[in-house]
Symmetry: C2
Subunit: 190 residues, 2 copies
């Protein structure tokens, strides 16, 4: 195999990856759309086999596609934390996170059982951002510190995700939840 | 068929129903135990066919068994509402409800797609009890009334259930959630 032939193959493989990834993230961004390989291949105008080979497997394709969606969210969270700090950042970021989760509420079930290292790492990063917002709020005296921080982060994550799913089509529910949550997270009036 | 023969058959059918029901509720009460007909039949010392026939179908058996578990919860809720009233009742009842849900966290998935009229009616009754507690709290000025009551009931139901599932093995999480929720439901300090 000549070098130029190898380069052509590599460029081809990269193009295939990009096309499959764009198709997968586009399908993931459609509310409720379960991202099946066949649908991704059709959207990309490629064969299903070529799509899978471009990533070395279906799990890797899904992982890369979900990671592409989550990365901007993590960056956005860090930006909001930098800009607003503490509880103001938390509320603004949770609203964005929940809008994202409401739009992608069906994706999670679809991913169950897959091996998704990049997705898992980015999810942990989202939790760390929320945790940093809560921590900053505690330092400012704007978030209650009478409850174990680990439990607070966990209950915020669990409830925000559930309400995001339930608020698909009822955004007022997410708004009501954020009102109750943020008031509940304030320090107790002595 | 003679009348006495008919009576004997009826008594037999009732005994079978009772035995199957006791076995099913016992299995439902075991944490994480998915109530399969075969397991119910084995526990009851009956054939799987006899178990299903005693109820006219698997759905009807599950419906009767879950209803047997939910009925005391509904009664308990009404009792607590009568005894404590408003937010005190709400907190006490949610704690009991969540302990029940944590113990039976796997049952819900098992019931997906079944036709369960009695279970559905009792669940609606549980929501009505929570709703009555919130309403009484609002009248007392102890629960905030600046958010649509329908949204509040819905967010309490959704979040309590999720935290109950997540708190299986971590009861402190349910306790932390109740702290944040009850404080968040208080009227805003003017």
């Amino acid at each position: 195999m000549s070098t130029s032939h190898g380069k052509a193959l590599r460029a081809d493989a990269l193009r295939n990856r990009r096309r499959a990834l764009d198709a997968a993230t586009a399908l993931l961004a459609e509310p409720g759309g379960p991202p099946k390989v066949e649908a991704i291949a059709e959207r990309a105008g490629m064969g299903a086999g070529t799509v899978v080979r471009a990533f070395g497997g279906k799990d890797a394709l899904m992982d890369a596609a979900v990671a592409e969606l989550l990365e901007p969210l993590v960056l956005r969270g860090r930006q909001i934390l930098e800009r607003d700090g503490g509880p103001t950042a938390l509320r603004a970021f949770l609203a964005e996170l929940m809008a994202f989760q409401a739009a992608h509420y069906a994706v999670n079930d679809q991913l169950a059982g897959l091996d998704l290292p990049a997705t898992t790492a980015l999810r942990a990063e989202l939790v760390r951002v929320v945790d940093a917002m809560l921590g900053e709020g505690r330092e400012q005296g704007a978030i209650r510190s009478d409850i174990d921080p680990v439990l607070v982060t966990s209950l915020v994550g669990e409830t925000a995700f559930t309400i995001a799913k339930a608020s698909h089509g009822t955004p007022e529910l997410a708004e009501a939840y954020l009102e109750v949550l943020m008031d509940g997270l304030r320090p107790r009036v002595p």
